[in-house]
Subunit: 468 residues, 2 copies
């Protein structure tokens, strides 16, 4: 009854591989390169190979496979698009990598109720392409080409969350396969309910440690009558941060408000060929609503920005110009990594109360500069959440460890300001060390108790979220 | 290890009463009338008396009391303002009624972050009186004079939820005393987090069966620049319902959209002395935003209403006129009960996808009329949620049972339409019979497993949510 099973016995793994092959045929792969592709996400972790990769296509297959793995106590690590930044998909104890990326059916779209039901391998882009003709969209946008199943598992958010909420607020219900293969449904199609424990929210953000999500009901939103993006540059970081704080405190319903510091802007200009800007602290903004409302919101923010030294708004109202801007924003991580050829990066994800944002960002940047780190800051600052990519030279011994030390310093400052170690990337492997300090011993014990109840043999994504 | 403990042994109760008196002094009462006041809420259930009532004032007292009750396996039933409509506060197995209504401190208000921390006995009205000078308000408004702790426990919502969300979306974090007296904190001050299991959402709606909420962090909202209420009457119920559906589908961000059927309107006109209206199906609306936005929204809804036979908008823009209107709406339950002197009522709480609202409401009203029941319908129709008060003559044998049969018919129709038995009142005693059908055997087993993990001796509000 250890919730954190070690690597399974070789003959148990052999039995699972044989059984899984009987279920999946050649969609069960032990090919070395396939296993390597499933060894890590987009983070700087060291890949760990699963014993086999299972490309599932139906809930029934997931159910049979989990029952099999449960019987033999073999670990199962769910895998979507492999875009995790925290080691969620690394099969650190071997076993099966459960690849859900082929479950891409859009099962229902209910236009009158603005909801839909999809399989977990559907990406945000695929769903929005499907919905466009019906005047609706799914707003949660972490920026990467991730699956919506992965977004549910990690409680993802992104650029639109300031207006439309995170994935947590946009999921109506789930179908989940439990550790032993039982299938349950949570939530439903209604907008609200007071009908028992909120199992939906318990699985959202559980990072594959409590069950495997096989269907998702989402809330959708109407495409606004008008959308308008703007770029505003500032002489200093404080001006951009304080504009954000004042905007949020004014209650202006901005759809996106994203900060790029001077280093990040320099990186994006080079990587995404953005022209007409300076390498200065910059806000990317977007407004949604009726034409009148968008104008009213934009004028209000422009006035605030002017108070803090913001130098005019460069507007992008056409879809093409807006898309180019947000593509550059979404590529910010890759742009940062490209800033110094041959270097790599790790990224922080702290989120603080908005009133503490200036202190958190200016402090983090100052600490990095004092220690001689090259870092880029990009953030969903309307929610108090920002990422600082800490670059390091992988050829220099100890450089990665020094980057981690920098990361710990930034997290410690965030926690001291009443914040969290993770606004949206999740815990995975990389943030486990902070949870006890953040939640306290007793609350973490309650989480472990839930884990043990849902997964007594510890086969579901073992080694993640909790340190042994 | 039975999760649904029966009545405790007399000597265990005596030990708890002696121990509780040592902790609370004369705030531990065994007075018969005090116990009777804690025997039921505002529903039609039969009161069941606790062995004693504990008026707690601090988290430490709650912790010591729960540790004591846990040791002796004595039931504890939390009590706030006693406004439950589903038997949540009835101590059906005796033991201690834990009265939290004296914990009324507003601990923190952070104006820059628009959040606050309060004790669970604070009422919505108390909090809003406190906040008014700072230009902020707490929007969740179930209508009754309930405590915010009780609202958290029952996942309450009410008239503003269509715009601002339910209590679920407006709680940032909690302090909770567990069954054995341990104290944990969940969530925090940040707007979003991906930092472990969502314990906050697990306690929201858990109806006192998993722990006792002793502190609450809430999101607050800015008081809008303009607020405007309107009343629109319709020749038939279908016109009012279809206006609601079309308004929601148009994405107009109405702050409130409440339906009263002709019988309910007749009741409210008599009870609240509303003048200038007819006993006809009626929508009460409210719009929040800038002056321009409010005008734009109101014009859009007025045009939709006209398409469905709505007869003009009667406006109430002054605070006094708006308050009179919403007071009448909030008193709708009492107005319905007063419709036939000497009669009582039970109330339904189904919530359906908005596209099914017309079918659910028209069907429910038609069924009631066909069976000769006098009923009043009032609903948060923007969320697909409505209440049908079924009146009965308590002097007639079998009348209450016939009312319950009517209730079951309405719930069955709601579930068949993809809805839930409870949009906002909770499960308590009254809705337990529907949960297995609504969630399925396996999902309900998962909920029972959580209950057993959190409360192995079954002392926390036993008999609620689950049937034995």
């Amino acid at each position: 009854m250890n919730a954190f099973a070690r690597r399974a016995e070789p003959n148990s793994i052999a039995a699972v591989i044989a059984g899984a092959r009987a279920i999946l045929g050649d969609r069960l792969s032990v090919n070395e390169s396939v296993r390597l592709q499933h060894g890590k996400g987009e983070d700087s972790t060291t890949p760990t190979l699963p014993d086999a990769v299972a490309f599932v296509q139906t809930t029934a297959e997931v159910s049979r496979l989990l029952a099999l793995c449960h019987h033999h106590a073999v670990p199962v690590t769910p895998f979507g698009a492999g875009t995790s930044l925290e080691g969620h998909v690394n099969p650190v104890r071997g076993g099966i990598s459960l690849d859900l990326s082929r479950m891409t059916a859009i099962l229902e779209v209910n236009a009158e109720d603005m909801d839909c039901q999809i399989e977990p391998g559907v990406t945000r882009q695929q769903l929005n392409d499907h919905l466009r003709d019906q005047g609706m969209f799914f707003p949660v946008d972490p920026g990467s080409v991730c699956t919506i199943g992965g977004m549910c598992a990690t409680r993802a958010s992104g650029t639109n969350a300031v207006r439309y909420g995170t994935i947590r607020e946009n999921v109506l219900g789930l179908e989940v396969v439990l550790a032993d293969g039982r299938v349950i449904e949570t939530g439903g199609r209604v907008r609200k309910a007071a009908n028992g424990y909120d199992l939906t929210r318990l699985f959202i953000g559980s990072e594959g440690t409590l069950g495997v999500i096989t269907k998702i009901r989402l809330r959708l939103h109407g495409i606004p009558e008008a959308m308008s993006a703007a770029v505003c540059q500032f002489p200093d970081l404080a001006g951009a941060v304080n504009t954000t704080i004042a905007t949020m405190q004014s209650g202006i319903p901005v759809a996106r408000i994203e900060l790029l510091d001077a280093d990040q802007m320099r990186a994006c200009m080079a990587y995404s060929k953005l022209e007409g800007y300076r390498a200065a602290p910059t806000l990317f903004l977007e407004f949604h609503g009726t034409h009148a409302a968008v104008r009213e919101q934009a004028e209000a923010v422009e006035a605030i920005a002017a108070d803090f030294g913001g130098e005019g708004f460069a507007w992008a109202t056409e879809a093409e110009a807006r898309n180019r801007l947000w593509k550059a924003r979404h590529d910010a991580y890759w742009a940062a990594l490209a800033l110094v050829p041959g270097w790599r990066g790790i990224t922080t994800d702290i989120c603080v109360p908005i009133s503490k944002l200036a202190e958190a960002i200016l402090g983090a940047k100052g600490d990095a500069e004092a220690r001689g780190h090259t870092t880029c800051i990009v953030g969903h600052v309307g929610d108090g959440n920002f990422h600082q990519v800490i670059l390091y030279d992988p050829k220099v011994e100890g450089a990665l460890e020094r980057a981690w030390e920098m990361d710990r310093l930034i997290v410690a400052r965030g926690l001291a300001l009443g914040g969290t170690c993770s606004g949206e990337h999740g815990v995975g492997l990389g943030k486990r060390e902070f949870l006890e300090h953040e939640h306290g011993v007793e609350a973490l014990a309650v989480m472990r108790g839930i884990k043990t109840q849902f997964d007594p043999k510890g086969i579901l994504n073992p080694g993640k979220m909790f340190r042994n």
